[in-house]
């Protein structure tokens, strides 16, 4: 756009907002922050979430939890698979965003989008199989059937790691596939792709409130999520400052949240089960045998 011609049209720019309870509100605080591209140039403004947005997101996640956890695991897997389908259909947009924000080559962008879609399919498949692997029938010294089965923990707060798409999908998919609902604080460096992913999820049969995405600062919103008494687990993967991670873990101890600490991991490698089992509770049932 170097010269204005009579036919030139004004660009229609997207307002990047939050994703709470299936809707896209602006931050309650009215604040925004500037997102830069890989060369430090202006890319867009993103909503800067406040503690009240975090509170609203937790309320939405809590409201969505019984319905989502109550669905059959098979159905949850289908919904997560549906996210992958829609992501595939919009892959050009995601590849373009990756290249703009990271400055990576077309081939690398394609590799990462491939990996993100495959990651969703991977966890979609696990949704109705994890119970057989981590649960089971226990041998007990008495005339009883004794079964253990995993159940979702509840509302899980996630601080997403860097890595515009793959990072977010890698931490989010295992949490929702097992029946939890999530409040995600997107990586501070990559809020835009997170909101584009929210648009995909909003149209993929995922009930409103199962995934809520906030964009903003981990140091500002993180402590409110960690101390929130109605959050049952917190994934600190994206917290890069060790002292902040420590503070969040201490704040999370008040209501005995399950905490996943940040650790080095290769996002492109096939994941283990721990991201799912970290936010599952094992319920064991005794039942009399025979008549």
């Amino acid at each position: 756009m170097t010269r204005a011609t009579p036919a030139a049209r004004v660009g229609v720019r997207k307002t990047s907002k939050l994703f709470i309870g299936g809707a896209f509100p602006r931050s309650e605080s009215g604040r925004t922050f500037v997102v830069n591209d890989h060369e430090g140039g202006f890319l867009a403004n993103a909503a800067l979430a406040s503690r009240k947005d975090a509170r609203d997101a937790v309320v939405a996640a809590r409201a969505a939890f019984p319905g989502w956890a109550g669905r059959t695991a098979y159905n949850r897997g289908q919904v997560v698979y549906r996210i992958a389908e829609l992501l595939e259909a919009r892959r050009d947009q995601f590849e373009g965003e990756l290249r703009a924000s990271e400055g990576v080559s077309a081939a690398t962008a394609r590799q990462y989008v491939d990996a993100a879609i495959d990651r969703l399919v991977w966890y979609a498949g696990w949704s109705d199989k994890i119970a057989q692997v981590v649960g089971g029938a226990n041998a007990v010294a008495g005339p009883f059937f004794n079964h253990s089965a995993p159940e979702p923990t509840g509302v899980v707060a996630i601080v997403a790691p860097r890595g515009p798409l793959l990072g977010l999908v890698s931490v989010l998919a295992p949490v929702i596939a097992t029946g939890n609902t999530a409040v995600v604080l997107a990586s501070e460096a990559h809020p835009l792709t997170a909101i584009t992913l929210a648009e995909v999820m909003a149209t993929s049969d995922l009930p409103g409130g199962v995934v809520n995405i906030l964009t903003g600062r981990a140091a500002e919103v993180g402590p409110w999520l960690a101390a929130h008494m109605d959050v049952n687990g917190i994934d600190l993967t994206g917290v890069e400052d060790p002292s902040l991670a420590r503070d969040l873990e201490i704040a999370a101890a008040d209501n005995l949240k399950r905490v996943r600490r940040p650790r080095a991991e290769d996002l492109l490698a096939p994941p283990a089960l721990d991201r799912m089992t970290d936010f599952l509770e094992i319920k064991t049932v005794w039942h009399p045998m025979g008549s």
């Binding site: 509170r55 937790v58 409110w224 929130h228 008494m229 109605d230 704040a251």
Partner: protein
């Protein structure tokens, strides 16, 4: 509005008076209520507002499946809304159906928490007058401190103002106890069925002229229940009534008030419309059940600095 009102001699004189009241500017009332709802109440003012709101709650359970156990639990909650914090005020009253008054009274006697009973064929009010009066006397005899009656909306909408008026007068007489004291009478206008704001204003004046101690918006069984504009009109009515007659009448919005934010909006409106005289549980009440839990959660948030959740308040 003159101070020498005795319009209640016939349908015609009542109609002349009620229809002579200034018409309500609907757009203006809605805008005024919306604007008052934008006030920001924070920190110490918020803490004060929350405690005041808790002390104004008529903790209500009006379900077909109410059991004595549930009413006892509710009564205990009314006395000590936050068992972990003795500084938390008690609610104003517990509101139940007439047959459960005795159960509530057993728990609440001596606690300062009042027992309110709904009567007069609540919520529809579709019964003969003698049935309604028997309903009322029964609740008063069982120990009710306050009676929440419903007006006959059918008669009101048909223009039979005298019928409505006489019914309220009769119920008020039925509220008298043998020892000469009387249960307080709250008159439910059921604004959701009155169609217009003008009717809300007329019904408010009608109830006040007939001797109501409180005017109450709704039964909670009809949607819309209490709204800010309707409550604004009722607050204006009690303010004007005091100017004309020197007598204070209470206001009770009921139904649909679920969050602390909503409750604070109402308190702002009370203060701005009627002044601080009405910021007292004797003159303003909230008819609510879930509101109390949200007030407690917000109270805890202010005290501890962290958000709570529904796991930390009682289910009811």
């Amino acid at each position: 509005m003159t101070a020498t009102l005795s319009p209640a001699t016939s349908d015609a004189s009542l109609r002349r008076f009620l229809h002579g009241l200034p018409a309500v500017d609907k757009v203006g009332a809605d805008a005024r209520a919306a604007r008052l709802g934008t006030r920001s109440i924070k920190t110490t003012a918020k803490a004060y507002a929350i405690d005041l709101a808790i002390s104004m709650v008529d903790l209500t359970t009006l379900e077909g499946h109410d059991t004595p156990g549930k009413v006892r639990a509710l009564a205990n909650k009314a006395m000590r809304p936050d068992p972990s914090d003795p500084t938390c005020p008690a609610t104003a009253a517990v509101c139940v159906y007439g047959d459960l008054v005795e159960v509530a009274k057993q728990t609440l006697t001596g606690s300062g928490v009042q027992v309110a009973a709904v009567a007069t064929a609540f919520p529809s009010g579709r019964a003969r007058l003698d049935v309604k009066l028997a309903d009322t006397r029964d609740a008063v005899a069982a120990g009710a401190d306050e009676i929440d009656m419903v007006i006959d909306r059918g008669a009101f909408l048909a223009g039979h103002y005298m019928t409505v008026f006489e019914e309220i007068v009769a119920v008020r007489e039925a509220c008298e106890r043998p020892d000469g004291t009387a249960a307080h009478l709250k008159v439910i206008l059921e604004t959701g069925e009155l169609q217009t704001y003008d009717n809300v204003r007329r019904a408010s004046w009608l109830a006040m002229l007939a001797g109501a101690h409180f005017i109450k918006t709704s039964t909670g069984k009809i949607s819309p229940a209490a709204t800010l504009p309707v409550t604004l009109i009722m607050l204006e009515a009690v303010r004007d009534f005091r100017d004309a007659h020197g007598q204070m009448i209470g206001v009770k919005p009921a139904g649909g008030i679920r969050t602390t934010k909503d409750a604070i909006k109402y308190l702002v409106m009370v203060n701005e419309t009627c002044g601080p005289d009405w910021l007292d549980p004797s003159w303003f009440r909230f008819g609510a059940s879930t509101l109390l839990n949200d007030l407690l959660l917000q109270r805890t948030k202010l005290a501890t600095g962290r958000y709570g959740g529904p796991d930390y308040v009682t289910l009811d």
